[in-house]
């Protein structure tokens, strides 16, 4: 095809798509340092007013504490669940494997608002709603498939004979697990911890429904946004973005760098 001209047009087009995708992240960052109450261009003065405001707000600190507790616990739980499923899928064949895998992989295909309602009704019935634990239980179900996928991908690169070799050398299955499988999966496990934490950290629909009075950061944002335009959201948003972007980038870098290493 007519090489250069087309390449330039396509390049511009791809740039436009990326602009659309990253514009909201970019503007949230810019406006968080902007003095205007209703941000637009031309920009107002540089100001850290909104940051000062959120930093002095005890409700937001409480929400941050809640979010940290929820996302770390969720990450550990979901990664454990994901690891067990990935290993079972890697190692075993059994009769109801299809339904077994569906059981862990299906939750993300159900819209969050539906899961939110279902979780709220069910957890209230069990007397488990309205606590931080409620969010953690719900999030572990929602994020475990991500953990499963990452760890399964890693196990896919492992020679199944490695485990058998460990048994032949006299190791028990538990020892093979501890000294062969887990170390091999470690980069995937760490990536999975980061990613599931990021997902949990940003999830608001289910959290909002089941949390009762315990607010996490996204719920605080939701409540501020419902009121009125308040640039505080941009300041919180920047903090939220930085947290999740670092987690996601860390996850990708850890996973991909190991991938390359294991190939060379």
């Amino acid at each position: 095809m007519h090489g250069r001209g087309l390449n330039i047009i396509l390049g511009v087009y791809v740039a436009l798509i990326f602009t659309f995708v990253f514009a909201p992240i970019f503007f949230s960052l810019v406006f968080s340092f902007n003095s205007q109450r209703f941000p637009t261009i031309p920009l107002g003065e540089f100001s850290t007013e909104w940051y000062a405001k959120i930093l002095s707000d005890p409700d937001i600190w409480q929400a941050v504490r809640n979010s940290v507790i929820v996302s770390t616990t969720t990450a550990i739980l979901a990664t454990t669940l994901g690891f067990c499923t990935a290993y079972t899928d890697f190692r075993y064949n059994f009769r109801f494997k299809g339904p077994y895998l569906a059981l862990i992989l299906l939750p993300p295909t159900i819209p969050l608002i539906i899961m939110a309602l279902a979780m709220l009704a069910w957890l209230s019935r069990l007397g488990l709603s309205g606590q931080l634990w409620s969010i953690i239980m719900a999030h572990s179900v929602l994020t475990a498939p991500f953990a499963m996928a990452i760890i399964r991908l890693r196990l896919h690169q492992m020679d199944p004979d490695l485990e058998a070799a460990a048994w032949n050398l006299g190791g028990t299955e538990w020892q093979a697990m501890r000294h062969v499988i887990v170390p091999f999966c470690m980069p995937a496990i760490i990536s999975s911890l980061c990613l599931t934490a990021a997902v949990s950290f940003d999830e608001f629909a289910v959290a909002w429904f089941v949390s009762g009075l315990n607010k996490t950061v996204p719920i605080v944002i939701l409540e501020i946004v419902q009121g009125n335009i308040d640039p505080q959201v941009n300041a919180i948003g920047t903090f939220v973005f930085l947290t999740s972007i670092s987690l996601v980038v860390a996850a990708q870098v850890i996973f991909i760098s190991r991938q390359i290493k294991s190939h060379s």
């Binding site: 396509l10 190692r91 299906l106 608002i113 940003d202 959201v233 948003g237 939220v240 990708q252």
Partner: protein, 285 residues
């Protein structure tokens, strides 16, 4: 015998806890939601029953069906838009970009998927507002201001925030996996560039594209944030209906009816899409 027992114990350790956990916290909620759609609410309290009153109540109301068709329409529309907007970019990344560039682009596009959708939506709110960034920019070239918030346009922009990165990623991966020699063969045999896309690239990517469109549809169909904050919820979508019915008035059974209708619709759409995706292509002559 003892070794066999030991093996079972080991296997069960990895299998059983997950099955139990998912039964309690995934199957449990979904089944219970179906059950409560038959419960009745008396004096603001939900009581166990087996009555069709909620179903009757919701499915005979005009506002439910208005909302149903509107949600179906706007979610399909935005999935179609996402697919079309993504295509040239994905094509460029799949066929024109180097391996490294492609990988870098996909790497970048994964990031928004795991960052706060809520904050991104709020950012769009500020960008699209009457005196917001976009209208200010358009003002410099003598256009506008346009009303973009509280319109279908706003809703679609919100949906695209969610679906466009995914559409680009999945389309790129799909097309990057096409056997390049087939494309070259078509070109060498005198097939025009656009005809090559239409008759070679698209048929070869059918499965991947149908699945991509399905994901875009599911995401838009279930999202309440975009239609609420950017669309102004003048025409409430089904998720907004669930939200309102649950949060105000404690009418969980009726909300459950809406949720079940949504799930049935999603099953139907997914089933049709997957049938389409795996149907044997007709031989082109």
């Amino acid at each position: 015998m003892s070794t066999k027992h030991k093996i079972d114990l080991y296997a069960l350790t990895w299998r059983l806890p997950i099955i139990l956990w998912q039964l309690i916290f995934f199957v449990g909620p979904v089944v219970f939601m179906i059950a409560i759609s038959f419960f009745v609410v008396k004096n603001y309290r939900m009581t166990e029953a087996f009555e069709f009153v909620n179903w009757q109540r919701m499915l005979t109301r005009g506002y439910f069906w208005d909302s149903y068709w509107y949600t179906l329409f706007i979610a399909s529309l935005s999935a179609a838009i996402a697919m079309m907007l993504a295509f040239p970019a994905a094509w460029a990344l799949a066929f024109r970009a180097s391996e490294n560039l492609r990988r870098g682009a996909v790497f970048l596009l994964i990031i928004p998927f795991f960052t706060s959708y809520l904050v991104r939506t709020f950012s769009w709110y500020v960008i699209l507002a009457e005196s917001g960034v976009l209208n200010a920019m358009l003002g410099y070239v003598g256009l506008g201001p346009f009303k973009m918030l509280n319109t279908h346009f706003g809703t679609v922009v919100g949906y695209l925030t969610l679906t466009l990165p995914l559409a680009v990623i999945l389309q790129t991966v799909t097309m990057a996996n096409i056997d390049k020699t087939l494309v070259e063969a078509a070109r060498n045999l005198g097939c025009k560039p656009l005809a090559t896309i239409w008759r070679v690239v698209l048929p070869l990517s059918k499965t991947g594209f149908v699945v991509t469109a399905l994901f875009c549809f599911i995401l838009a169909f279930g999202d309440f944030v975009a239609p609420f904050y950017l669309g102004g919820s003048q025409e409430p979508t089904l998720p907004i209906l669930i939200l309102d019915t649950t949060k105000s008035g404690q009418q969980w059974p009726r909300a459950a009816v809406v949720a079940i209708m949504m799930m049935l619709t999603l099953f139907a759409v997914a089933f049709t899409a997957i049938m389409l995706a795996y149907r044997k292509p007709k031989v082109a002559r």
